[in-house]
Symmetry: C2
Amino acid sequence: MAIRKPTQQSVARTLSAEEYAEGILSGNRVRLSQAITLIESTIADHRRLAEEIIERCIPHAGRSIRLGITGIPGVGKSTFIEALGLYVIKQHQRQLAVLAVDPSSSRTHGSILGDKVRMSELARQDNAYIRPSPSAGSLGGVARKTRESILLCEAAGFDTIFVETVGVGQSETAVHSMVDCFLLLMIAGAGDELQGIKRGIMEMADIVAINKADGENQERARRAANEYSQALHLYPTPDSGWQPEVLTCSALNSTDIDSVWDRVLAHYEHMQARNLFSAHRREQARHWLRQSLQDDLWQDFLQHPEIATRYPELEQRVLRGEMNSFAAARQLLEAYTGKRPPAR
Amino acid sequence: MAIRKPTQQSVARTLSAEEYAEGILSGNRVRLSQAITLIESTIADHRRLAEEIIERCIPHAGRSIRLGITGIPGVGKSTFIEALGLYVIKQHQRQLAVLAVDPSSSRTHGSILGDKVRMSELARQDNAYIRPSPSAGSLGGVARKTRESILLCEAAGFDTIFVETVGVGQSETAVHSMVDCFLLLMIAGAGDELQGIKRGIMEMADIVAINKADGENQERARRAANEYSQALHLYPTPDSGWQPEVLTCSALNSTDIDSVWDRVLAHYEHMQARNLFSAHRREQARHWLRQSLQDDLWQDFLQHPEIATRYPELEQRVLRGEMNSFAAARQLLEAYTGKRPPAR
């Protein structure tokens, strides 16, 4: 099939939601890419078309394992994703989609956009589909688009979804709430301290993998794995009863990549055995509904003409200690709703 | 002065905001209690009066150290608060107010309400003021009322504020964002595992204290302190550069309570030296303004007649996998704002 490069204009005029959906459901990568482009578009008509496509695809979504992968720059994330991706494709005959959440993607040095080059062997696989992060916008917007893209990828037949984040900022929480399993990739540091990783991320991890366990670094990686494992055991077990473990691996040499995937499968089995897998996804759906509503409400509020001017003014007065923040909030809410807010 | 027991009715008819504020600023505990009762009231007129009082008191607030104290039931929190409170009052001539955030306060077994009995020696001190948590409501509401109460206590001359939480649920995050320093109280467990403490709380702590380091338990407490200290060192240092340490103490025997307060002061000095103390409080004020707005917007949204019926319906459809959560959000937002939401 001749692959026609999609442009926003040609996409808007060419097909109906029905046709995009049919293409996606039959595994047509071009249609999938076009539909994700519609999701990412800022044009209102494109967004509405995207929604109709998603509505049609949703009954066919969900049949996958969704793995979040995070780690700061320098831990070898691209190499790791490629090694793990090639492994699941070749050794487990899986269909893999690799997505990313990076709200700063237009500014990131060595951005995920360049990963198609850095994961070139993976990108060449028939059973792999790699999509860079939606470009910069609010984190809420980028996360939403990524989550919708997951649904389309699943409808297109991908049974394994990796969602990558860059390991700094707030993206990790968003990704954690759209995947089944969250993996933190690290390396052994000089003093075995997590320089740069945001606090709270380690506690989110279901699996911790210490990468670059090769050559002279093997011993150091093993020691780091022991220390972090002990640290993790001091922390409360998640409600699911799953105990996060720390593995070592070498993505460069493809060593112990199979062990990593074994852990992912073990986590999946653990959740399924306790009837937690679907329950977890339902809770995530409930969360995203609430999150979308709150995001949309907030945006509508901020864009209200009177709020746009008065919010910064009142915020300054609050910061200078001249005004109680709750009184300022009350004034602004009255301006937005046009009525006296209820006393709470 | 004869202490007249305040009732909501007498409070509303008796004094003006000016009179309450004057009373508070001159250190009148009765007026302070009455004003806090107004803050906690659900009657709209009381809330407005409370706001005026707060406006008058705000210029006189802020001159204190605010310490958050959390720990699960059983770690000896009341005994600890009493020991630390008596220490700062007697040895450091401080004026102490003890507040609490416990949204489930009407249902808590051995509730904080009973603490005035359990902290009876502290409650008897002239320089101590103990107030139970505002009664059950949303966490946002309880947190807001407690934060406003902090401001009034400071205006009344209290230079030391303890805010207690019960160590489970979401209260810790709220309290963390209204105090200068956050202390986690624990005891050495059988297997040295944090049973029951919510994940994420340890990373919030500026100080960790292992209580009940007395008698036969001393050795176990010291070992636990070492293990947790090592674990904490594996975690990234907060942006402030402050390294949380783990102490042991015995609130029952008042052993090493002075060391705990030394740490609180050291943290205060650390923040002041880096010009972070005021900056931190300003960020908290900015956060509370934003949080109030979002809370109020959300409540207004939920109470919209059409939303009240359609939200549960659409949520069920989303949970059953019949509908995309973002499409559901869009429909509900249209119903609330009466207009088509912008595409994002």
